[in-house]
């Protein structure tokens, strides 16, 4: 592949570009799903193509193609250069990229069992067995069990001399049950809904989830939710657990810290950010125990790789340190705007046909101390919520509102009855500022976000958010229309 790729580098060099790169990407994506006793998806997708990026006299151009011949690669490179020339019509200064050494390297996601080598029928047998358990009660109207496996093989070459081959592998799955009665529906999932839990690795990820051990509970809780009281409205203390903490981190810190967005380059679509650059190193984002760390080296992380798509080596850095805004997600184009001469390396592209853009890296809330029981014990009147069902946040990442699958009432330090339709709303810095306890490392775990959308044309990216359950004081709970 590098031989084919080098054709693009040759064309780029001939035209004296400031910078050029080509990523040849081969992807395989397998989904196996069973719904209500039937196969709802059995798909196996492969794509192969390349994206070529050039910086010509300080302006960007990008073109992608799928015709795997030297001639087509050269034509696509010329097309990228022609587009860059058009970009020169509207520029302020020349785009310059932060320096990064050239690398010749191979990196791959560590895994134990190749999920594509596990027979489809083994997967189907497991899913049908789960489906049977989920549907053991007639009030379950929708039962869904699924698995998904993704492999991305990249060959990345730059005009600076980098030559990086990477093989990234992710596996995910879940069971969900929806109970329906008189038009009302209640959803419960394990490990979470929205397509399930994903981590970097192979078939061992599915085995470790132990879906069969949770299917009975998922079914019974979905049914119990139908009869549960609605989560009452009021200002109460909140414990967030399960993948809801991942969504809270993702929406209110992850996207808010994307530097392109902070600088206004995402304004026309997803919006901008309140966490503007003059706040770096000063702004109180959360309480003193709040530490949020971006980490492209995190074992199991969906955004973990040897290098990002700017050919920058994987790093680990603080976004929020002891409650203070301390860093951003960066690419090589914009990191200079905050005075950094090297990118933190969080620039990635979706497949071969998209240009690399600034993305959220793996971003985790560092554990503190104690157990969930101790968090509960410190609450007089509150709610514990688990697993996200609905998410919404404003265009500067301040006002958010989340809905969760299930809540538990907390009265006088004791976790009690379950509550349905639990929701909460807040303003980002006030909310993180009200965080007064985060459970210890023994309860810390990683959650995957497999469908993060950004950019125009729209791109998908994957990343993980690790956390332990955490407690927030005086939160607006139970918002209803």
């Amino acid at each position: 592949m590098f031989k084919l790729a080098s054709k693009a580098i040759e064309v780029a060099n001939k035209h004296k570009v400031d910078f050029g790169d080509i990523r040849v990407v081969e992807e395989r994506n397998q989904t196996v799903a069973v719904k209500n006793g039937e196969i709802s998806a059995l798909t196996d997708q492969t794509t192969l193509g390349y994206g070529i990026r050039v910086l010509y006299k300080g302006a960007w151009g990008f073109a992608s193609g799928r015709d795997m011949t030297e001639r087509a690669v050269a034509d696509t490179a010329l097309r990228a250069i022609a587009i860059a020339k058009a970009s020169r019509l509207l520029m302020r200064g020349r785009v310059r990229l932060a320096h990064e050494p050239a690398y010749q390297d191979f990196w791959q996601t560590p895994f134990l069992k190749d999920p594509f080598a596990v027979p489809v029928q083994t997967k189907l047998d497991m899913l049908f067995a789960l489906d049977k358990t989920l549907r053991a009660d007639k009030r379950i109207k929708v039962s869904e069990s699924e698995m998904n496996f993704m492999r991305e093989h990249q060959w990345h070459m730059t005009t600076e001399g980098s030559r990086i081959e990477q093989v990234l592998l992710n596996s995910g799955g879940c069971v969900t049950a929806t109970a329906v009665l008189n038009g009302e529906s209640q959803l419960r999932g394990y490990p979470c809904s929205h397509g399930g839990q994903f981590l970097a690795g192979g078939w061992e990820i599915i085995e470790a989830m132990d879906l069969p051990a949770h299917a009975d509970r998922v079914r019974d809780e979905a049914i119990a939710l139908l009869k549960a009281p609605v989560c009452p409205a009021g200002v109460k203390d909140l414990i967030i657990s399960g993948n809801q903490m991942a969504l809270q981190i993702h929406e209110s810190v992850g996207h808010a810290s994307e530097l392109d967005r902070v600088l206004g380059y995402e304004e026309s679509y997803a919006g901008s950010s309140f966490a503007t650059t003059e706040k770096l190193g000063k702004f109180r984002y959360g309480s003193e125990i709040v530490n949020l760390v971006a980490d492209a080296t995190l074992p199991g992380g969906l955004a973990t790789a040897g290098y990002d798509d700017d050919a920058v080596k994987a790093q680990r850095w603080h976004i929020v340190k002891d409650g203070i805004l301390s860093g951003y997600m960066t690419n090589r184009e914009f990191c200079g705007r905050i005075g950094k001469d090297r990118s933190w390396g969080s620039c990635r592209a979706d497949g071969y046909s998209n240009i690399p853009i600034t993305r959220i890296c793996n971003l985790s809330l560092m554990p503190h101390k104690g157990t969930t029981e101790e968090l509960v014990a410190g609450i007089k009147d509150g709610v514990m919520m688990e697993n996200n069902t609905s998410w919404s946040i404003d265009q500067r990442r301040l006002n958010f509102q989340f809905g969760c699958e299930i809540g538990w009432e907390i009265k006088n330090g004791k976790k009690g009855r379950i509550l349905k339709n639990p929701r909460y709303q807040g303003i980002t810095p006030e909310f993180w500022g009200s965080c007064d306890a985060i459970a210890g490392p023994q309860e810390w775990r990683l959650w995957g976000v497999a469908n993060c959308g950004k950019g125009q044309p729209g791109q998908r990216a994957m990343m993980c958010h690790g956390s332990s359950p955490a407690r927030f004081r005086k939160v607006k709970i139970g918002v209803h229309g």
């Binding site: 799903a33 196969i39 998806a41 059995l42 798909t43 196996d44 997708q45 492969t46 794509t47 192969l48 193509g49 960007w60 151009g61 990008f62 073109a63 992608s64 193609g65 799928r66 097309r79 022609a82 587009i83 860059a84 020339k85 058009a86 970009s87 019509l89 509207l90 520029m91 302020r92 027979p119 489809v120 029928q121 189907l124 109207k141 929708v142 929806t178 329906v180 038009g183 529906s185 206004g264 380059y265 304004e267 026309s268 919006g271 046909s353 609905s390 919404s392 946040i393 404003d394 265009q395 500067r396 006002n399 509102q401 929701r423 303003i427 125009q456 044309p457 607006k476 918002v479 229309g481």
Partner: protein
């Protein structure tokens, strides 16, 4: 196109008598994105994707790929057949669709639009950015164009194809603490009035400077077309598709034939109507015109072959590519326009809020279509029939069943918009719309 036909033939041959369906989609797209008054991204892609579904006596597999060389085709079909061999039979699985006559669709293709050059797009971006630069405004947005071709064929003789072109000019203008937005999409660039869109967004940005703090609560709202389309698209996706209906999750369940929404609301899906599209669905079946809501009475839902069979009826031609999370979906929606202009809607409002656009809407509860989201890019207080002053953005948490029962007036000027498919939508005035919290800008 010829190439696609040949690939289909090769695949059918490899399938050796097993039922086989091919969906091929060729898409060329280019997009120029600008922000901060400069071009920030300028890209082009050309893609051709094939999906092959194999069915054999209750067994199925779907293989997708984007390389069409003989080795890839052979490998894909062979691995699909291998999966079939070991699979247990699923008695519920439908065989492939037989060909049915398809009425010709509206012409949706314009060569000039498909082939707009990078310098045309950059020029349009530059016109706006230079004008904004002179007045201290900041231009952000996109100019994109492209063309796509879709073929669905199977070895029972079905072969349908559709091609379209598209161009969209989307403008967001920042003016200090004000912001404005305008967008138009069409299959023909001659329908896009670039200057007018720029002017609308710039004027709105200027008018929304120095916004005041509003108080959350229930208000009469005048929703511009994009805001109506946003929440209506959710309602359509979660309520008017046969799958959620069959599963008992749609608010329409048990209410067909009943007056549930405002008599001012009539909602149709029509591939030859105000929001046209391809004349067949993703199973190659003819689309039919379906009236979903007639003067507030819930009339019908849409089906694909699978949901139709479960419901004991016929497909209405609304299949999405399989597998589909949403099941069938109406993608050529049109709200019947009323008599009032947007200005009339404002004039008839004693006290209320004018909303340009919603942001990050999401479903909270399907039973009542309770949705939350933010206002964006121009939110104004209306007092005594006039736009009085700009206000900061607010979050709404509102049942859309209730909101669309509370329509006071429907506007006369429908816009053709992209949603989950296409939607033609006029502005509307609704009463008692619940804003649940505020934000800081």
């Amino acid at each position: 196109m010829k190439n696609i036909e040949q690939v289909c033939k090769k695949i059918f041959k490899l399938a050796r008598g097993v039922q086989c369906e091919v969906m091929a989609e060729k898409r060329d797209s280019s997009l120029t994105r600008f922000a901060d008054n400069v071009i920030s991204q300028n890209v082009a892609s050309s893609a051709l994707n094939f999906s092959v579904r194999l069915l054999d006596g209750g067994r199925s597999a779907k293989m997708s790929f984007n390389q069409a060389d003989d080795a890839t085709l052979k490998h894909a079909v062979a691995s699909g057949l291998e999966i079939l061999k070991k699979q247990k039979k699923d008695p519920a699985l439908l065989p492939l669709a037989k060909p049915r006559p398809i009425a010709p669709g509206k012409n949706m293709f314009d060569r000039e639009t498909a082939e707009l050059s990078p310098s045309f797009r950059a020029g349009k971006a530059a016109e706006l950015a230079r004008a904004c630069g002179k007045t201290g405004q900041i231009a952000c947005g996109t100019v994109d164009n492209g063309a796509s071709e879709l073929v669905i064929a199977n070895n029972l003789g079905l072969f349908v194809r559709h091609r379209d072109s598209s161009v969209t000019h989307s403008v967001t203008v920042k003016d200090h603490d004000g912001s404005g937005w305008a967008e138009k999409t069409s299959h023909d660039v001659k329908n896009i009035d670039f200057a007018r869109l720029n002017e609308t967004a710039r004027a709105k940005a200027a008018a929304s400077r120095k916004p005041r703090d509003p108080k959350p609560g229930k208000y009469t709202v005048v929703l511009e077309p994009q805001a109506v389309a946003d929440v209506l698209s959710y309602m359509n996706a979660y309520s008017f598709g046969g799958q959620f209906y069959n599963e008992g999750r749609s608010f329409v369940c048990g209410k067909l034939g009943k007056q549930v929404l405002s008599p001012l609301l009539t909602l149709e899906d029509d591939a030859w109507g105000a929001a046209p599209g391809m004349p067949f669905d993703f199973e190659g079946q003819p689309r039919t015109k379906v009236t979903l809501v007639e003067r507030g009475v819930l009339k019908a839902i849409v089906h694909d072959r699978k949901t139709a069979r479960k419901a004991g009826t016929a497909s209405t031609g609304h299949a999405l590519p399989q597998p589909s999370y949403f099941g069938p979906l109406a993608i050529n929606l049109a709200v019947k326009p009323g008599k009032d202009s947007l200005q009339d809607l404002i004039k008839g409002t004693e006290r209320g809020i004018l909303v340009t656009q919603f942001h990050y809407t999401n479903l909270l509860k399907a039973q009542t279509m309770e949705i939350t989201g933010m206002t964006r890019n121009g939110t104004f207080m209306i007092e005594n029939g006039k736009v009085a002053y700009p206000i900061k953005n607010m979050r709404f948490t509102q049942s859309m069943v209730e909101a669309f029962a509370n329509i006071e007036a429907v506007g006369s000027e429908a816009e053709f918009l992209q949603g989950w498919g296409y939607i033609s939508c006029p502005p509307m005035r609704l009463s008692g719309f619940n804003f649940s919290s505020a934000t800081k800008f």
